[in-house]
Every structure is written in C-alpha cells, then in structure tokens.
Symmetry: D2
Subunit: 297 residues, 4 copies
Amino acid sequence: MGIKKTPKSLLFIGGDTRQIRAANRIAECGNRVYIFGFNMTDSEKFSEGIGRLENLEEIDGFDAVVLPLPYTTDGENINTAEGCEKIEISEIFRKLPKPLVVLAGKCDRKIAKEAEKSGIQLVDYLEREDLQLLNAIPTAEGAIQIAMQETKHTIHSSKCLIVGNGRIGKILARMLAGIGAEVTIAARKNRDHVHAFANGFKSTSICGLYEKIGEFDIIFNTVPSLILDSDLLIKTRRNALVIDLASKPGGVDFESARKLGIKVIWALSLPGKVAPDTAGDIIGKTILTILDELEVK
Amino acid sequence: MGIKKTPKSLLFIGGDTRQIRAANRIAECGNRVYIFGFNMTDSEKFSEGIGRLENLEEIDGFDAVVLPLPYTTDGENINTAEGCEKIEISEIFRKLPKPLVVLAGKCDRKIAKEAEKSGIQLVDYLEREDLQLLNAIPTAEGAIQIAMQETKHTIHSSKCLIVGNGRIGKILARMLAGIGAEVTIAARKNRDHVHAFANGFKSTSICGLYEKIGEFDIIFNTVPSLILDSDLLIKTRRNALVIDLASKPGGVDFESARKLGIKVIWALSLPGKVAPDTAGDIIGKTILTILDELEVK
Amino acid sequence: MGIKKTPKSLLFIGGDTRQIRAANRIAECGNRVYIFGFNMTDSEKFSEGIGRLENLEEIDGFDAVVLPLPYTTDGENINTAEGCEKIEISEIFRKLPKPLVVLAGKCDRKIAKEAEKSGIQLVDYLEREDLQLLNAIPTAEGAIQIAMQETKHTIHSSKCLIVGNGRIGKILARMLAGIGAEVTIAARKNRDHVHAFANGFKSTSICGLYEKIGEFDIIFNTVPSLILDSDLLIKTRRNALVIDLASKPGGVDFESARKLGIKVIWALSLPGKVAPDTAGDIIGKTILTILDELEVK
Amino acid sequence: MGIKKTPKSLLFIGGDTRQIRAANRIAECGNRVYIFGFNMTDSEKFSEGIGRLENLEEIDGFDAVVLPLPYTTDGENINTAEGCEKIEISEIFRKLPKPLVVLAGKCDRKIAKEAEKSGIQLVDYLEREDLQLLNAIPTAEGAIQIAMQETKHTIHSSKCLIVGNGRIGKILARMLAGIGAEVTIAARKNRDHVHAFANGFKSTSICGLYEKIGEFDIIFNTVPSLILDSDLLIKTRRNALVIDLASKPGGVDFESARKLGIKVIWALSLPGKVAPDTAGDIIGKTILTILDELEVK
C-alpha cells in the first residue's frame, strides 16, 4: 500500500463517519486536508491539523475535492450531515477554481454532465477496482456477522452455499471455511469451478442447484440477477437462512421466499454499516492511490 | 461421533430450547424419549415420537433422567420453563424408581448429597471433557460475533490478543486467523508458546504483555484469574475492545477498565445464547456418549 | 467438473504416461478410445476397453484425435515412446478422414498451417485457461517439493518470497502458508497488493524488493522476464534458494547467481515430472471439456 | 521463545551438523561455547567465537556439557564424526570437574548409572516435551516430502489418512489440509474425534478403519503399535502409499504389505534427515530452555 511523498491539498465536502476517517488518514500521511459541510459534532472528530473552511472561496485551489459515498441522495444537494446547510452540487462546481479534480462516490449522469460542462475532471472512486476489492472484506465479514446473529447454530460445520465466485464470493468462501463451515460455490463458468477445486471448495453449476439446494443451512447470494427464483426456493429448507448481498434488483424472489416462510435478509452497503472505520480507511487509501496515479500522468 | 444401537429410554425434566433440541436428537437416533416439566409452547417443539408424561409415576423405569443446564437456579427446584409447576429435586429423587442414573448440568454439593442418599448415580455432563471441547466452538464463534458487533473495524487485519491457550483459546485463534486477523497468544507455559509457533501464531509471555498490550485492537481473555489488572489496562489502547470469556471471577479489573474508558464485555454462557441449537446438539451427543460408556461398564 | 453424456470416439496418437492416464480417464467416462503409436510396455497400461489400432485407416472417423504435450519435439514427427515407428504429422493429417478435430499440446505455426491446409480444426489444449489453472496445482506442489529437497531447514516458519501473483503465485502462496511459511508476494499491480492483503499475505512492489530481498530464505519466481537481475541477486542471501518456475527466458540472471554462489533451480514442466498421474487427469478433464464445448456449438 | 540474559558456558562433545547448528545458535545468544571431538571439516563450520579444546582438562568448569543425539551408537563411545579419536563416556564423566550437568540425547540405563555414580546431573533433551513438539514440525514436513516424492499424483485433493492424533498427527493434518488434501484422522479416544471435528477434519475409530481404509491414497501412521495389520492391509488399495512414522516396532505389518505389493516407507528420525538445520535450531533452543530452568531452580 505504498503512499507517495508529495503532499497534496484536499477538500472534503460532506459525508458521514467514513469521510471523517478517510480525511484523518489522508492527513496522517502528510497531506493538507480541509473540510466543509460537517456539523459541530462531526467536526470535532477530525484530527487537529485539519482545516475547517467557513466558505468555499476561502482558499485558492485544491489538488482534489472529495465528495461523499454516495455523493448525493436527492440528486441536487451533497449528502451532508444533519444540521448543515444544503450545498448544491452545481454551486460547488461553479464556485471552486478550475482546473479541478472531483472525487465522488456513485456518480450518475447528472453529475457527469455538470462536471463536463464546468471542465472538471470527475472520478468515481466507488468504481475503482481496488476499492471494490477492499470493500469485499468488510462485506464478507458483515455477511458472516448477520449469519451469526440470525441463526441458532454455529457457522462451524454448517453447510454454506455461495452463489457467485466474484470478489465477494471468493473472500466470503475463505472466511467461512476459516471458521469451519462446509462451503459450496455455485457458479456458471468452468474457470470458477476450477478455482473452487484449487482452493478446496466444493462447487456446483447453477443448474446443479436444483438438486442440491436443499442441503444448505445458509445461502449467500452475490449475483445481481434473479437466480434464487421460486423453483429453487421451493427446494430450499424452510429453516435455511438466505442472505442476499447483490445490489439493485437483488438475486432472490423475495415474495416467494416470504410465502414459503424462508427468512431472507437483503444486506446492502455492508462496509459502511458493519465496519465504518474500515470503510473509511478504504476510501482514504483509494483516494491516495487515485491522486498518485493522477500525478504520475 | 459413533452412536451405538441399543435403544435407551430417557426422561427429560425441565430446561430450555437446548434440552428440546437434545431430546429430539436422541429420539432421532432411535431411543425412546419422554418429557416432563415443559410448558405448552415448548412441548410442541418436541418431535412427534416423544412421550409427554403427566406425572412422574407413569412409567416404570428409565435408563437415565436428564436434568437441565444448569439443573437448578434456586437450589431447590429444577430449572423449568415459565408456566410450569415447580418440581423439587428431592421429590424427583424420591419418586423415581431405583436404580437410577441422573444426568444433570452444573451439579453442586447439594444435589450430590441428595443423590448419594437416594442411591442415585449422578453424572454432571457439564464436567465432561467432550462437552467442554465441543462447547469451545460456539463460545469462540460467539466471541467473534460480539467482536464484530462491538467494533467499527473488521476483524480482518485487526490485531487480536488471546490470553490463555486452552480449549477456547486454541479454537478462537484458529477462527480469528481464518477471518484474517493477526493473532497473538499470551500464555505462561513454554508448551503453549511452542504450540502457538507450530500453528503460526505469535505468542508472548504474560510478563511480556506489559510491553505489548498497547498494540492490540481486540483482547480476548479466557483465563479465570485476574490477569488484565489496572497495570495492564493502563497500557491498553482506550479504543480497544476487551471480551472476557472467563467464568466466575473473570479475568479483567472491570472497575479500572471503566475508569479508563475501555469497553469490556463479560460474555458468559455463550453457547446457549448465540447458538442454542448447536448447544443442544452438543448436550445430546454428550448424553449419548455417557450412556454408551455406562453400558460398556 | 460436469461431464456430459453423449459418448465420443477419440484416437490418442503418441505421448507418455500422461496420455495413457488421460485416455483411461476418458474411457472410464463412457467414451470409446483408440490408441496408436505406443510401444508394447505402454500399451499394457491402457484400460481393457481401449482399442489398439494397427494402422490409421482402420477406423472410419473420430470425434477427435489427441496428440501429446508437446505434440512434437523435432518439428516433424509426433512425440512417441521409444520403440515406436516415427509418425509424421503431415501423414496423419493426410490419412485421417475429414472433417477432423485435432487436440494437440504446444502447437506452433507449422502444425497450425498444416491444419489449415488440410481443413482440420486444431485446438491447443495447453492454451486452455482451465488446463493452466489446474496445472498450477502440481506446479506449486512441485516447487514446494524442490524447496523441501534442496533446503536443510523446514518450509514452516521460513521466509518465502513469491515474485508474481498469477495462477501459480496464488496457489503457491496458499500452499506455503498452509505449511506454515511466512509468505511475501512481489508484484507490480495495485490489485495484486490488495489481493495479497485480503488473503493475509505481505506484499511488496518490485522496486521495494531492492530493500527487502535480503530477508528471504526461499525465493520463487513465476514471472517470465528478468526480474532477479544481478542488482537484486547481490542483495540476496548467499544461502537462499531460488526456484525459477518461469518458462522460456526464465526470470533469473543465472550467470550472476552462479558467480555469487546462490543456488538457483530452474524448474520447468513440473506437472509431468512430479505428478504425471495428476497431469494426465488434467489433460483428460480438459479434453472432455473441449469436446463438450465443441458439441454445444 | 524467550532467552534469558545470564551468559552460560557450555562444552559440546561430538555430534553431527545438528550439534554445530545448536552450538552456533547458543553462541549467538551471548553464551560461551567450546567444542571437543569434531573433525577438521566440521570444526570450520562453527562460528568464530567458539573455542576449540585440545584436551578436556583445559578449562575449569562448564555450566553444562552437551552430548549428541543419540549420545552413543555403540554404547561405549560418544557419537563423534569420522576422523575423530574415540571418546569413552566413562572417561568424560571421570575427567570433567564436578558438579556437572550433562545434556544428552536418547539416554539409556548405562549412561544414567554412570551419571549417578559420578554425581553428574543428567538430562535427556530428547525426552523434553518442547523438543518433541518442535520436532513434530520437521517430522510432518519430512513425511509430506516423502509423500510428494513417492506418488505420481498431487497431495492436493488426495485422500489422506492419519492414524493417531498426537503431536505429529495434529501438525501433519494441518499441513496436509494446507496443501489441499482431504484429511481423515483415525483415533481411539472420543476427545480425538472431537478435536478432529473442531478442526474440520473427518475422523474414524480404529474399528471403523476396516470399512474405510480402501478409500485412501496415502496413509500416515504415527502410532507405535501394530495397527496396520494384514487384515487392514488386505483392504488397502494396492497403489496406496503407506508412510510409517512410528518408532521402534513400527505400526505396519511390513511383511504382509510386501506380499500384497503395497509400498511402505518406514521413515524414522526425519528431523535430522530432511531439515538438519531446523533440527539443530530445535536442539539449541531446548538446551537454552533447560539451562534457564536449571538456573531458576
């Protein structure tokens, strides 16, 4: 996790405890950090050397401005803590001196257009492979924590199915096995079966699930498309626990599960929920890497 | 986990969900099981083949009577669910036909004397090495669950100290490492240091802790004597989490920790709390093993 | 490792013990298998149901012809066992009825041209991702075997460096850690450092090696370009063992190492050498997968 | 592995490369070390600060004299390298000034009597629990090295049986699983089955072996009594590999195995053979611990 030596100057606008942690980490590495758009309570959690801006014009320029994850919830204003004045995205883009690099989480078309219009270089740090890889760690742990809380048996020696062998599936498999679970991976591609075999996990094709799904105590889905449909759920144990880690549409037919009496937990955005400090560290690390890469270019 | 074939007849008197699970498991293995001293709600959770006694004289004799864990809380009556009539221990010992084997959890002098007086063979299944070894699994998992719930960072890559290298310490070390923690074991005996070395864990003497304790994010104590005293706690990080798994007096100076602002969680009887089904399975297995051993003699 | 049900007919021409094993496995799965170009001793090792051809015209057609790995050593003839008549590649391509699928290992331009000219579909099974992933297992084990044979200390608690985090590097890291080694991975890409971190390994950049290489007892190279040059070797312990697993030019300045008195072992084609049965099984599995895929199309 | 600070003075008489290594390690820790009874070639391998005695009377006294492992092979003379004059044990005991502590490997009645007669405190370091625990590491690795060398398949995904769940069995199980083998432990005691279960290994009773032994590719015996008798060997795969790690009578009916064509390797004293440096380090560490303990008393 090499961190280069040229000190940068950054402005954090808005966000929750993760941004505080990220800002502190970045400051610890010898960079100048300023904040704007945090309430009193949050402000106190920033390290001493960090500067608190009263207004956005106060300082000449920054190597980058960091917006929260997600950068907005209403599509207009930056996601700030309660008790802060609203800050419109367009306002920031207008006021801050150019050229400007803006690092934001979960960028959509709107902010992309605004950035283009204002000649701002926009980077979505949520899209970064390193952040996603690192986030797989707290996501997998969070999934295990939920499994521990929601079952009356141990993870040790329970039969766990992981649907999908991507970033999260791989780490989750290793951690579950590390606690003593029997892990089976369901995946489509031959290479995933070989990967499972090499790492000592059982594997099954998605088709094969129709015969095997009844064996499992805990089922983790990581694939964002409807795999656990009513046909599969009917064959699932009624007392199994299903944890869906897939974003957007999810991978479980929640309605069928409800009717069958199978408990499903749709667990989204786990890093921020179960390990906000780690999630903040990850954002901090990723931002430093992005800045290093921008500099090299 | 070999289970022999001669069917036994057992009577379960009182207890919580663990006894229900144990009884069901023992019945599944082909034994005749009867229950007494459960309320309506609990009664329904027993498997179909299990007989519900109305009064204790109803049946001639049993291979064994199983009392709960702990067998009593008030020292007079058996630990039964709410809504049940009280059942005095002395009454049971009087009424049930002899010779009789009674399996009970957490036996004290009182029950031991009563048993001797009545010519009853009393076995404390909580004292069994196999039960204690098996219970170390849900205990370790429960400790990890608490650590996950009470910290804002991941277990992965956190620095964990385990004080003591007994049954629980050993399994906890393996599970923590399985999730990606950096594990250090603090122990007195040379053989524990060698064991740690062989298994890839760092280790330190108890004396050595004075210099090292400040490094750790999470500290698990498994030793039932005051090791984490005020001298050590002063050197502990204020934001560290201490989880005390040691029974009776515990191993932490709770008052000093409170003053220093270090969070300590004293986690007792974890198997029944975090994994009652597994805890019940373990009681069931242990009872079957005890019965096999009694038969062999 | 799903194997489909339509029986195939295959002809194995030439090869060593791996092809015998592959042929036997494929026959066991219910396919018709014929052989040609094996000597008497080898012929006896094939399973009973396998047909021995006297001449290539004997049978009408095959779903596929399987050539050895590598298919040739002299560029003209197929790689057959001692005591067999030479079989020219061009002759086979001429004689066998078309359309024909030929599966061969380590194809070069020559065979590719010949195949194109003759209207033969040529598949190089050595190029298959699944074969390469599976071969990483015996390669990693072979590297460990060599390390065990060539050192006077245990792998356990020795400091191992793996240069490269590809297929072989990843499995090797896991196996070495599984025996108790301290593993560090040297890699260029940020994603490899994150992968190492997630999996509990230390990592270093290639540049960082200049400072750290002196720490290691055993150094495994998996990258096929000159990384362990004289500058790095000078900083390497004289009593370190270097195992180069990289093909073609290798990744070590062998001459410098020799002068410095550092032992280097260039270990190529390990699967066939240390685990020919497993290597044969892998070829067998891969061929079955290729046939399934061809059928589906 | 704490090493205390009071420097000791030790005399090493005779031995192989392990004693050289042990002496060097002990010298490195700040102790004064002298040698006697090594030939020219070996003498050069000792560190610079180590003193070479010409005759035993040369120096006044030592905290301890260290004899080799085993201390003798002929029962009369100390086990010295070729080219050294013979040194009778009785002579040493006579000549060296008392009080004297002698640390020797594999003590028998003879040396014990001699020691008692001469008022010498004799300690057999081979009997030490810490040495035996530590030696289990190179023993397990050596067993794996042999398995790798003697089979044509990988350890990964092979079915391995370990008879016995003692020091060696436990470490061997963990290492084999670490490479990807499927491990089953055969043991008598219930606690061993529970230990296996807790650590994620399958287990079987010794009786159960009659049904299961035919499944295994590699069988490791660690129990020094005849368990793998002709009845069990008849049910073993003819192409299985049996590695017997048990001392003295061994645990395999070698004659039956020979007749059945099952390959058995009786692998004794592995640490000194496969990892002499590690074996020497272990002797060195153990001697330091013994000296510390003697001092404390």
